[in-house]
Symmetry: D2
Subunit: 341 residues, 4 copies
């Protein structure tokens, strides 16, 4: 059997990446795709890199029955689009930020908008399989993690869960420009972004509460303090999250390494590595590489997580969640090398 997938808003970078990856999926295929500005056009004509899709049309609404819906609409627009599918019992994965925070209040505080479907928040599962595999498999509505949180949480989770680190966490993240989304060229023109590094939304980015919430769920104590500073670096894809936290107890490099390996033993897409990882080693695939280092001199844990923001940070993660929700192999369609160099 081949599952039928609908993608709402295929025209953003996350949506088109889902289309790219689903092409190779052995048990699912796209049967309907929407995109407002490009409705009525052929997918492969609008986006020449997807020419393999031949006559597949972009429509205004999802057409025909589907088993799974992925929504790649902007945050605060996505929830409303998801509602009818959730109601109808279709499995829904929201790639936007609408169902990630647990409360409508938190959403309002950080997004500056009223939540469009607060009644569904209790049903939503945070879609990071390394933490929530069973819950995802049982869920009808999965909130796909943000790209920064995916990297930061995977870098820190084993240490938080084991109580190795204390409360004052720093997440310094470096992102490729595709994280800003398609059509963001007006603010991110090549001439301005090239040969430049800059921080933005210092201590104030809406991915911060998502990181704190999920790390907090790993332990008894209240949510840790997380200072989060995202940076843009001149590349297209990739996130490098460098996380820092004071050690809560004496721990050796070997112990931390073992603790991390144990934590991720059954996780096909998070690998603990012994040298500083390169974002480029995950370009185009669903891998997250994690590297913890004990800075014994200063009593600090440095934990690095790298991934492709459009794959493990968005569309690949959505497919991994879909696989779990459908009860098929978690790795289906995703067990791929990265593109290098």
């Amino acid at each position: 059997m081949t599952y039928r997938v609908g993608i709402i808003n295929v025209t953003g970078f996350a949506g088109m990446e889902a289309a790219r990856l689903l092409w190779q999926h052995p048990e699912a295929r796209i049967t309907s795709i929407t995109g407002r500005s490009l409705a009525g056009r052929r997918l492969g004509e609008a986006f020449p890199h997807l020419a393999v899709y031949g006559d597949t049309m972009i429509t205004a609404e999802i057409e025909g029955s589907v088993d799974v819906v992925m929504s790649a609409l902007p945050t605060a627009e996505s929830a409303s689009a998801c509602v009818p599918y959730v109601r109808a019992g279709v499995k829904v994965i929201d790639i936007a930020a609408d169902f990630r925070l647990k409360t409508a209040e938190a959403f309002e505080t950080w997004m500056g908008k009223t939540h469009p479907a607060p009644e569904l928040l209790a049903e939503a599962t945070y879609g990071l399989p390394e933490l929530n595999r069973a819950a995802i498999a049982a869920s009808k509505l999965v909130a796909n993690p943000g790209c920064y949180p995916a990297a930061a949480i995977l870098a820190l989770a084993p240490a938080v869960a084991a109580g190795v680190i204390g409360d004052q966490i720093v997440v310094d993240a470096k992102s490729g420009i595709s994280g800003a989304g398609r059509g963001s060229g007006g603010s991110f023109g090549y001439s301005e972004v090239n040969e430049d590094v800059s921080a933005y939304k210092v201590g104030n980015h809406n991915h911060q509460p998502e990181i704190a919430q999920e790390l907090g769920a790993l332990r008894e104590a209240p949510e840790p303090k997380v200072t989060f500073v995202p940076h843009l670096v001149p590349m297209t894809r990739g996130i490098h999250a460098t996380c820092y936290a004071p050690l809560a107890r004496d721990v050796s490099q070997a112990e931390v390494r073992e603790l991390y390996r144990e934590f991720y033993r059954d996780c096909p897409f998070t690998r603990v590595v012994d040298a500083p990882p390169h974002t480029k080693h995950t370009l185009g695939n669903n891998m997250c590489l994690v590297h913890p280092v004990v800075d014994a001199r200063n009593g600090m844990l440095v934990a690095i997580g790298v991934l492709d923001n459009l794959v493990k940070g968005a569309a690949g993660q959505a497919i991994e969640n879909m696989n779990l929700m459908l009860g098929i192999d978690q790795k289906a369609g995703l067990d791929l090398p990265a593109v290098y160099p």
Copy 2:
């Protein structure tokens, strides 16, 4: 049945790209790989982007029986390595330049070295399926085209074959830096190459005779004159060949377009497009995009060909040739979207 493939010298960019692409091949798999400096190491450890290969070891020599051998050794080293397999009846694809030129004399003139196996030259088939599909399918030894010639020949072949253009051809090619090969960092350091364009081997590059030879084979007249100037541009992958030739007769844009479409009607990996193509629309896949333009004002044909130098210009082309030699679907393992953005 799954065909067994051996790769000689997996450690260069073309060799590792063959490994990346073969991972997804439905009917063939790598059973042995060699690499001199890295013999004894795990493939996925030496090259983290290939971690999916798990315990596959790099060895000094091909081990076990194989159905196909691909050699990615340097030019003038590759032929000798191929000889025993050709003799043993194994299908061989040489990704190096050893069997591309038809005579040992031409090889010596342009490569500055004695040909290591001139006795095999007559058996070799030039591996561009758009021109030689049947011959490739019947061949035991295929010479995989150079990256520049693949782009230039595909841009020009329909016009040459139809006698639309005259003799004085210009091929102005722009290449990403991966064309210089792995380990070329000494000459192509990031700080020097970034934010720079330059030409090299002006009118003197050894891909020039390959272009002239194959275009010459498409018509009765002698080989055309080809002025070939390669340039390096600051990107990793991609070739953009812009070709210019005086029109030999009056011809309209519509006529040329139709002539090109007809020529490539049954070619799954060369697509004629109606707007200037972007190299990035082929990143990571086996597509060549071709765009002919009649500059009526000046009596000139401008024909553009773009491709990924490591895929249609090297490893993907090798797999396409392998498919034909094995009598399986020409598209097997290669029918993929490009990676974008």
Copy 3:
């Protein structure tokens, strides 16, 4: 004495580059700058790289008396802004394309707009000092060359003037993205442009007639045919023009080299070099590097010109023209190393 310079529209890349370079000029200084959207703001606040300018304000109109006006307005808007200054006897340098073509008809054909001040065309001098030094020095209105034409004309002029090449010229140009102008991010977003090469306006760019006109002026025969294809490459600054033309007579590499050196003997900003030049060797300075190669095998001249599109291709050239018009040292303020790496 210090000359007073006004810049109309300092807010584009060419205008702000003029401000950058004039800062170091020993005999001229900016006394007034305009910029529509940013009028009322401090220059160094709007553009932090120009913070050295301290309290200099951007105003809506040129304020106070000036000796020279440079206009960096868009084409077809610039001429009208120049008229009053020309009438008032102020020396004017138009960095836009309004006064480059000799006739209002040519302007209308190529720009698709009516010329705003056709009555001034006869007074305008084409501002390429390598060809027109004396005329520029005597002129009140100088049309600053386009960035592509500057590179192409300087690469080809000696050969055309000496009758070494024939009529069918190809100019294949590669440009950094800053050539598209500030605020062009909507079409040239980082994620789309990075790792990409593409051609545009194939055979149809409005710099083509400018190249043909100026090369035609160097000889008795009618204007040569010029096929011009511009390409965008992923870097910020730099133009690399690779020009091709059939040799009109037998000529050796040594002879061509000598002919080029002789032609540019007294030109401080065009240097004939013996190896393929790198755009990066001119980054930020006013140099044009020229490299002619005889491809004797094919009877073709390949002539390369490289420069920084914002300096010798725009603002630096404007200052060089200003120096000549003011009768001061042609090199004043421009005799600088390039920024490397």
Copy 4:
């Protein structure tokens, strides 16, 4: 009077940048330059971007009398070369790391080599004018700061001096590739570095003790703990240091901002800015932009410093130190806009 400057090892990136900047210096000029591998060649021929230097030759040893020597030799080679000049009373600026750490023991611990001239350590002044202007002016031997320390110390100094932050400091630095030096292409080839971010020497880089030492000198308490993690990002020039430290007392954003402005009031090359600064706004000039942010929610100070690693992080800083040592205007030759875009 024009001071005579000798540069030892002009052939590295820092040395050639010193040559680039000194070209424009109003009161000093290069009279002798050395470079081992290129001795006997013209400077402008070896490095085409320095062609303005005409016939200046690279020699094996400094020739003639000089007033100032800058050494850009590798660390642990530089000190020995400096000794004779210091002895002879020539003013010496060491751009290498030989005289930065105060003790031979620290040098040995972090560099893994015996100090070549420990007897001079007591005479050396740490050359960061924002902290040590008077001492530099009085010194005969100045240790030019490392590129990372320059950015980190300038970001943190006002907060440390005012006792606003506590002891556990994190410095997360992002550097362009030129920091790795010329001839580093073997490890930093374009194809590998492009589209990649990675950390290196996590918690173990030899710039860490330099940061801790200089921050420690600003207060009574012992040296703070500094966790330093450098990262390479795909650009040529620029350092972005993002520094984090727990607040030691309640402090408002306005108070911190004022405290920073006050600290740098008389410093011509460090500017406190109100928005996250861009490395590109300092490209090619001697500016450091500093931006402190109070993350009140988490009780953390985030302090950002950006600069051009080859200018304020190396050669420009050396010239600024030279100016102070010579008693001339601190800004001489350095009061320049940045190159943008």
